[in-house]
Symmetry: C2
Subunit: 205 residues, 2 copies
Amino acid sequence: MTEQKATNVHWHAGEVTRAERGQLLGQKGATIWFTGLSGSGKSTVAVALEKVLHAQGRLVYRLDGDNVRLGINKNLGFSAEDRTENIRRIGEIAKLFVDAGVIVLSSFVSPYRADRDVVRKLHADGGMDFIEVYVEVPLAEAEKRDPKGLYKKARAGEIKNFTGISDPYEAPEAPELVLHSAEMSLELEVETLLTMLKNRGILPA
Amino acid sequence: MTEQKATNVHWHAGEVTRAERGQLLGQKGATIWFTGLSGSGKSTVAVALEKVLHAQGRLVYRLDGDNVRLGINKNLGFSAEDRTENIRRIGEIAKLFVDAGVIVLSSFVSPYRADRDVVRKLHADGGMDFIEVYVEVPLAEAEKRDPKGLYKKARAGEIKNFTGISDPYEAPEAPELVLHSAEMSLELEVETLLTMLKNRGILPA
């Protein structure tokens, strides 16, 4: 765990509560955490889900490696230590959004089990507002897709520490949901996610 | 400026835009950045504004030193370098919330002009969605109030690098608003802020 340096601080309970913000929005804040290899389809399903939820009048916000890496985490690289801090910070941001009442869709490779577990523990409510979704795809398929040409570069040694090639991907042991993106249609993936959000009270029934 | 370490990344334009989220919420995301000495009344006015905005059906979220220091910035201390990184990260988080459509109320001493200017520059839209509010109070008055007993500890040397006592506070040179908290009622402060939010199109007229 990250060391707590600041002292003389305490959680400042706001006058407006999380429940009241949720009531205003007609939803319950939650984090849907998509994890999987590069090219597994994490962002594709997150973008599709975002579109459907927004059309239904829900407030949803997508965090992904690209926009976060250019902003809050621009002073982090890709060493194991920096990847851990990257995921920790994203988890803390997601937690703040959840507290604000927002449905967060985060899509990051997030290859290390321990890092994802830190994010899970950050979320309160007995884990009900943290949904780990493993977007599963065989490595060969992800490498065939290679939408950003990153596998090719990794194989050529131009990118070091690349997950699946020169760095491990630790699959979730007990994710809330597994999406086999090579076999499921995008529509079915989104449908499955919507049902799960209703079942958990994140969306009204 | 913080060094950009990550490469191979680009801003991932979402399918749902900031404007569409704003339309859904009936507001425009913005950051109201309260700055001032400890005990100046930053949090008091932020809490009051939050309450009024929520009652009007607006989605507002408050970031303050206490909840942020226990979360995303718990690995930062109070050295000049850590304070700078503290404010930078908060600015990046505020920017994400603004992009999500939320009205952010941030209350931090944020004593260094350069740090606040970094946050201002992070915000897009020609500064229209960043409102710096200087909550001004004479040091003697803040020290008299001393709501957390911190000035007493700082005078006794128990807290080092305490703003106003052993560390400088650099007042804003061109804030969007100055609130003289020793002379204005809380009601008048909130009223002034609401008018400003309407004038800037953050709230509907």
